[in-house]
């Protein structure tokens, strides 16, 4: 009774004291009230237009899928502070989470979401598929990984390594989930080094069958998503041994469960167990005990074995053959890079919205407390990350287009760009989510607020489908090869955005003014300068090692620090370029103006990187000027913060209670009692 009285009194006070003269400061209420940022922040540009630019494609498709999720009870809708939020119940047991993930997939299947994903062809289908993955990833990482394994890895392997009879036999059934696929590549003893896997396949010409065997414990297939519970079929990677000759890594199809879910004979499956995140995915381990599969199950686009047991391949070089086998992983990498960007968007939208409603400390006694985002330090923490995510969004859109418009000629570019963007976006994602979690204080720890939990869910991104460090080394190796090739043939640089290497080295003015710092040409020059210098230096150091008679591998290994810096320099410059290109598509106006500031903030944040001082590309004075300009840009972007995160196009339901009325979401009346 007392409580009811007190609550009534407070509410009454709220209403009575609601003075007509509204000011930006708190009225003298007995307690804090939540002031929605929508009513105090202004939008200087059309948010829906910015969203179209950021999402880049399939906006209606995305919205429909968002709607399908929000309107279904399967997606665990909960009301907090009067609003509906969807996200899995991570307090469920691993088994329950896996079953829910599967039920959600069945629901989407019934609603026709996967129509054309395997049987359709072309840019449009592939872009739409990316869009759907982005949306599903915003709901939960497990569902997008579970689908990714089935469609991109299992389905992709059949599309890319298989030939017509495989396509006819498997693709439609895959699209309709009549079979559930998984992808057995990684082993306990071998991850990134796929060429070292130990599973062996031999051929029995008497029966026309391949025999797949796990010869030792380190050869057990490991982390196989879908294997522990649901998958019925798998792609198996193994060393193909024909008549005593090892022909290298090849892929076959093997059935691992029957239609009722019973594990097939000669297959042993164990669970990988509980993980720090992604518990909605049933990762398993598989042992093959001389499992026999028909000859047709060899995915034979690259190489085949004749019925009488002869090895046939159009590609004679085993290195090239192997490279051809890894191409479907590219789609996975593209997906991971893009997905990481969207996770960062969730984190930033939540942290920035919270910072626009949460106050802490007054400047003077009896004055209202200050909004978190009005502290320059808080702006400095979050807004450069916001700029980074804008840049990476454009980078991700570019990467998707590069992928769906792939040609045999563009394979190398796709490999290099996807490797570097995957590493950069996933590393940034972890950094961004951590900062956002801290920026939300204790609220960031609550699973229902999402931002903290995202860390555990997405940590895996930095190591799966290519360990980030190794991917970055590959980028540097590829740049090295480009350099050497250009030098050898005495040709100009062409491709990978390295054309700037053909021009004279840009000069950085000794006194950087605000105007120069905000000029996109200067920003591009500064990023190109670093890439160019690091590439020169890397090539020089590696060449020195080679001249001393060291092997190439050894030379790369010892110069790993330069390789890392170079990979990062390449990535930053390439991402910046996509930003400039996206900006160029806009007509003059407020949207372009704000985006220009965001671009400057991104570029200058890149210029703050330690390499600029380490190698002397910026003087100490200039580095100071960069830092000062960043602070200025942060305060200029502060009024646009809400509009910039609203432009992510993430529905409220996919954010979390602290992003909205967190007082009401935590009120006594909201407690179940």
């Amino acid at each position: 009774m007392d409580r009811a009285y007190q609550r009534t009194r407070i509410l009454t006070n709220h209403l009575i004291l609601n003075s007509p003269a509204q000011t930006d400061c708190l009225t003298s209420n007995e307690c804090l009230s939540y002031s929605p940022p929508e009513l105090s922040e202004k939008y200087a540009f059309d948010v829906s237009e910015m969203r179209r630019l950021m999402d880049g494609h399939d906006v209606e498709e995305r919205d429909r899928l968002f709607g399908l999720i929000i309107q279904s009870k399967l997606f665990n809708p909960r009301v907090r502070g009067g609003k509906v939020f969807v996200s899995p119940d991570y307090n469920q047991s691993m088994e329950q989470q896996r079953e829910m993930t599967w039920k959600r997939i069945e629901y989407l299947l019934e609603r026709g979401v996967f129509g054309g994903w395997m049987t359709g062809k072309g840019e449009e289908v592939e872009m739409k598929r990316f869009a759907c993955f982005e949306v599903l990833g915003l709901f939960d990482h497990s569902i997008s990984i579970k689908l990714g394994v089935h469609f991109f890895l299992w389905g992709g392997a059949i599309q890319f390594f298989g030939t017509k009879h495989h396509h006819d036999k498997w693709l439609r059934d895959t699209e309709n989930y009549l079979i559930k696929g998984c992808f057995s590549m990684t082993e306990l003893g071998h991850g990134s080094n796929v060429r070292g896997i130990e599973t062996v396949t031999t051929y029995d010409s008497n029966t026309g069958e391949f025999i797949i065997n796990t010869p030792c414990e380190s050869a057990q297939k490991y982390w196989i998503g879908g294997a522990a519970k649901h998958a019925t079929h798998t792609i198996v990677f193994s060393q193909l041994n024909i008549n005593g000759t090892n022909e290298g890594v090849h892929a076959l199809i093997a059935q691992i469960r029957d239609a009722d879910g019973n594990v097939c004979p000669n297959i042993r499956i164990a669970d990988c167990g509980h993980k720090i995140g992604l518990n909605g995915v049933d990762n398993g381990r598989i042992w093959f005990d001389n499992v026999r599969v028909p000859r047709e199950n060899l995915l034979n686009s690259v190489a085949d074995v004749s019925p009488d047991g002869k090895y046939l391949s159009a590609i004679k070089d085993p290195d090239q053959r192997f490279a051809a086998f890894l191409s479907p992983l590219t789609a996975g990498r593209v997906n991971i890079a893009v997905n990481a960007v969207y996770q960062s968007k969730v984190g930033l939208a939540i942290a920035i919205r919270y910072a626009l409603t949460r106050r802490a400390f007054s400047l003077k006694a009896n004055e209202p407390e200050v909004l978190l985002l009005d502290y320059p330090s808080h702006q400095r923490r979050l807004l450069p990350l916001l700029a980074k995510i804008y840049a990476m969004s454009f980078g991700a859109n570019y990467l998707k287009m590069l992928y769906v418009r792939r040609t045999p000629q563009s394979n190398k570019t796709i490999h290099v760009v996807s490797s570097s963007f995957k590493a950069t976006c996933t590393w940034s994602n972890m950094q961004i989510i951590q900062e956002c979690r801290e920026a939300c204080g204790g609220q960031g720890l609550k699973t229902e607020n999402r931002v903290g939990h995202l860390k555990a869910e997405h940590d895996v991104q930095s190591t799966f489908e290519g360990d980030n460090n190794i991917l970055m080394q590959q980028v540097s190796k590829a740049l090295f090869a480009e350099y050497v090739a250009a030098q050898k043939r005495n040709k100009v640089f062409k491709g990978l955005g390295l054309e700037h290497m053909n021009k004279p080295c840009p000069v950085i003015p000794s006194q950087l003014t605000s105007t120069t710092l905000r000029c996109s040409q200067f920003q591009m020059d500064a990023l190109c300068l670093r890439e160019r210098e690091l590439l020169n230096r890397f090539v020089a150091d590696v060449s020195q090692c080679l001249a001393r008679g060291e092997s190439k591998e050894h030379a790369f290994n010892t110069n790993y620090q330069l390789a890392e810096d170079l990979g990062k320099a390449f990535s930053d410059r390439a991402i910046f370029q996509t930003f400039v290109e996206a900006e160029a598509t806009l007509a003059a106006g407020s949207l372009k103006d704000v985006l220009g500031m965001v671009r400057s903030l991104y570029a200058l944040t890149c210029l703050e990187d330690v390499t600029y001082l380490r190698y002397g590309y910026l003087s100490v004075d200039n580095a100071t000027a960069v830092r000062r300009e960043i602070t200025k840009l942060c305060s200029e972007l502060r009024p646009h913060a809400l509009a910039l995160v609203s432009s992510f196009g993430i529905p409220d339901a996919f954010l979390s209670p602290i992003a909205f009325n967190w007082i009401d979401a935590n009120s006594w009346s909201s407690v179940q009692h």
Binding site: N18, D63, G67, Q71, G81, N661
Partner: protein, 380 residues
Amino acid sequence: MASSQHEQVLVEEKSFARILTFNRTKQLNALSFQMISRLLELFLAYEDDPNVKLIILKGKGRSFCAGGDVAAVVHDIRAGGWRAGANFFMKEFTLNYLMATYSKPQVSILNGIVMGGGNGASMHGRFRVATENSLFAMPETALGLFPDVGASYFLSRLPGFFGEYLGLTGARLDGVEMFACGLATHFVPSAKLPMLEAALCAVDSSDPAIISSIIGQYSERPSLKEQSVYNRLDVIDRCFSQKTVEEILSALEREAVDRREGWISTTIQTLKKASPTSLKISLRSIRVGRLQGVGPCLVREYRMVCHVMRGEFSKDFFEGCRAILLDKDKNPKWEPSKLELVADSTVDSYFSKVKNEDWEDLKLPARPKFNLPPYVIAKL
């Protein structure tokens, strides 16, 4: 005390409550420009008046409110151009926004017909009381219009894909169904309305919990009729969650083969009779509205309705009004006549800004930044 009998909105002051009664019974209380202006004026005044804690809205006669006075709008447009029509909707949507974000509870007594603009004047308020006389519909697609007055906000938030069903087909609901799906917050038998009203007039609080419990004392939990469509929500979800109107129709046709239920063929017939352009923009509007706050929904709907009034992409609204309201031949000739003839790019156009020199987006009235009730904040 009661105002003049000629007033289209009657005003009664009862302690801390204000009872506003639609009084245009001949037109089933259809909202005229004058009524909207009057409501806006009253709501604005009451917001700052500490002696007002509660607003009760009801209709005289057998209708709460049958909608906006569309016939008058068409008449105005014929006389003064599309801007005359746009002005009507600007005022109406502004009122809808004010009601949706109002700092004091509004109780609407829906004891009769509540359609179109009538829903705009009630659904955004905190409490909606249905009775056995309630008759709900959003029939705009039959008129060449689309569910407006913030319907893309409140329809899209109904369970599953029931909102798409109501918005596209214009299907009618009774009071029990309104309560079941959440359009009504309470169901009170009409016989108890005088007692309810008296009880509400004795309230001296704006606390929604207190008001809810008072209405609760007169409420019943009636059960749906067996043949109610709301019992077929599974079928509705399967069909109306489809991506396009065409796919919704074919899903319905498949269901019709599987289960011979009358309502499915009625639904198909209704959809086939509605304006194809209206159906497509309505579906998109509800889908987009599901992800937007009430303010952005109304701003977008205002853009859409201006495009409809301008008749640049389709003149179906004028044809619909001719066939249903003026000539009453009930045989509108839609143009384009078929769903597949309505291009996606045309649908897109309805969501763009109106390219006209002095046209502006709907300006939402300023709202208090502090102390809005949580149920209002959640809608922003």
